[in-house]
């Protein structure tokens, strides 16, 4: 987990950006966070300990994390941007419970391979992709 911090600091100096207390606080909170939080939720969380830090700063800093590669932006179609820590250059996709919001991550090399084949067949070069499976988690099937 030290790698993320280094990567961010390196990005700051490379871009001639400044290292501020707010940025360090947000970074630490972000790395400790339960993932897939919306900007708003993350901000509300952070505000408990650090009421002085503004929403704009949180928003801007999360964008920085994304730019420098330590965070991934996610969009689960609910109109909120979400962020998660990105580990190395691992990729994963998501199961999303539409009832309780639970999110399960998965990785499937077979699907990834099939995606590449499809792209080739249509003369596409893939830069990115999103796969999300929406449904009910075990708990919510019981409740329903």
């Amino acid at each position: 987990m030290k790698k993320h911090e280094e990567q961010f600091l390196e990005y700051l100096s490379r871009k001639k950006l400044k290292n501020t207390s707010q940025r360090m606080i947000i970074l630490k909170a972000f790395l400790r966070q339960k993932s897939h939080l919306s900007t708003e939720d993350f901000y509300l969380q952070l505000r408990k300990k650090h009421p002085g830090i503004g929403y704009a700063t949180v928003h801007r800093t999360l964008k920085l994390f994304s730019e420098c590669g330590i965070a991934s932006e996610r969009n689960f179609g609910d109109g909120q941007m979400r962020f998660e820590v990105s580990l190395d250059n691992e990729h994963h996709d998501h199961l999303v419970c539409t009832d309780c919001g639970r999110i399960i991550e998965f990785e499937d090399p077979q699907i990834e391979k099939l995606q590449l084949e499809i792209a080739q067949k249509h003369d596409f070069v893939i830069k990115d992709h999103r796969l999300e499976l929406y449904g009910l988690c075990g708990d919510c099937q019981a409740t329903a």
Copy 2:
């Protein structure tokens, strides 16, 4: 293509909604449309022939189409809602060119099957899913 019209009319009467000239005009334009248009683009298109019809009505009517099953809402992550005619209950996914916006549809039974297996493994019941491959189409690779 008559089926869509019937399905919409049936939905209207079932929900005790009224059949208006605007709704019929929008329906015809929608069925004739080049797919994956945003509400805004569809509205601008429609307005050329029917300047009297308001954006709100177009928006509400597209929602109706979606509710009654003759349209599918799509969200390609650019902050615009898009609509397309849904054929029978066929499902398909999308290749999206991030340069020129070209959209290619595809279907892959193997991927669908693997998705089901993943869901089972995590005790999920899938209701819906989205798979989008973002990249460059053949033309745009050349240009770049």
